[in-house]
């Protein structure tokens, strides 16, 4: 692949009006670097569901469904490490602490059935999630990238990431997933207050406090208020 192919891709990014055309263009472009599949997604944290966070799904048929159904995201070393680093990395560079677990090895084994054997991931800022990752997959046992090829891949990944952000709608509700009241209720929960105590502090009925807490849980797609507090802190929506 020559550099001008990369800049041509960057130029075409301006014209892509849908995620679909961006995805096929990117798949086509990275084929020259030995990658057949890719996914661009928010990185799920603490039990978050992967499926709603996916922005470009170029995984082989069947694998995505399997990955989601089996909740592989929670144990897959590549996915876990994607939340922990800001820097692009080869999947083979994921520290053994996360890639060496039995569950993570099983995910890697299963992936080979779908022609996914190695890869390269580019974490990026996301305005909706903790962060995003664009992960490229190869059927080669270990993907070999020259320093120049890495540079080319990262450049295309960054422009794909910018383009997908430009395509998503950050309309009127972009203030954040929580209302002021929901944030307030989570703040008091973080301070160890029960719903009843919070209701007295805020001058609300206990039922209303519980309702705001349930709205906050729903906003994050989590089961408990403790999880919602953790999520709100992680996203820097509250500062207990």
């Amino acid at each position: 692949m020559i550099d001008s192919d990369v800049f041509d891709f960057v130029e075409r990014c301006r014209k892509h009006a849908t995620a679909g055309t961006l995805l096929s263009d990117l798949l086509d472009s990275v084929k020259n670097l030995g990658f057949e599949h890719l996914i661009l997604s928010g990185v799920p944290l603490g039990g978050q569901k992967l499926a709603p966070m996916v922005e470009l799904n170029g995984w082989p048929k069947g694998w995505f469904e399997r990955y989601v159904e089996a909740e592989h995201a929670a144990v897959d070393g590549v996915c876990i490490y994607s939340a922990k680093t800001l820097k692009p990395f080869l999947w083979s560079e994921v520290p053994a602490k996360w890639s060496g677990t039995e569950a993570s090895r099983r995910v890697a084994d299963e992936a080979t059935e779908f022609g996914i054997c190695s890869g390269f991931a580019v974490p990026m800022l996301s305005v909706h999630h903790w962060q995003s990752v664009l992960s490229f997959a190869s059927s080669q046992r270990s993907c070999r990238l020259s320093p120049r090829q890495q540079v080319q891949l990262v450049t295309m990944a960054v422009y794909a990431g910018m383009t997908i952000q430009a395509l998503s709608d950050h309309g009127e509700d972009s203030e954040g997933p929580l209302t002021d009241r929901e944030r307030e209720v989570l703040l008091w929960a973080a301070a160890g207050k029960t719903s009843s105590e919070t209701s007295q502090i805020l001058g609300l009925t206990e039922r209303t406090v519980k309702w705001h807490a349930s709205r906050a849980r729903a906003a994050f797609g989590v089961a408990t208020t403790t999880q919602a507090v953790v999520e709100a802190v992680r996203r820097r929506l509250i500062h207990p």
């Binding site: 800049f7 990026m124 800022l125 996301s126 430009a166 972009s174 929506l237």
Partner: protein
Amino acid sequence: MITAHVVNAQNKHLYENEFDEFLRRRHDFFVHQKRWRPPSPDGRELDQFDTDAATYLLGMEDGRVVTSARLIPTSEPHMVSEVFPHMCEKSGVPRRPDWAEWTRTFVVPDKRSTGLRGTLTQLCCAVMEYALDEGLSAVGGVQETYFMPHHGALKWHAEPMGMAREENGEWYIVAYIEVNEAALASVRKILGIEHSLLVRRGKQLPFVESRTNKRYASA
């Protein structure tokens, strides 16, 4: 919401305290957090590009400097021309008075949020407003690739001067954002504002020297 004070060589004397606070926040961020620069004994961070050619936007909120930007005409020596010229292999180092290099942006820790209406976006809005006001065509420079999707979210277009690359363990790219009415409109829409964020006190200096600039035509 911030207000962004335009500070340059002509009106700097009006901002002695704020400018000093800005240099201390820069030291917190670029020395202690990013570790890009060695510590300075006086706790202020300055570099060779803090000259009279620089214009600063100091983002103020509740009497504090919470964010900032430094703009330098690329026709003057600037970070890309002096330190990162090798990263412009596609288009060459830009050298245009109406292309500004944008550096030294930080957000104080308690104002960082991942939401799109936060302090960073407000600062971006102020920079775009200033750039349009001054008749600039592009603003940009060396940037961390990680943050580039933020430009996308603002629906801004950024043209790369070369490939992204790794330097001292971090990935950067040299890119310039197009300045136009649409770019200002989209960031204002996201913030839900229609008003100016800029404050200009004292004597103003045109950013671009040769004056066809309507702002100063009558002055």
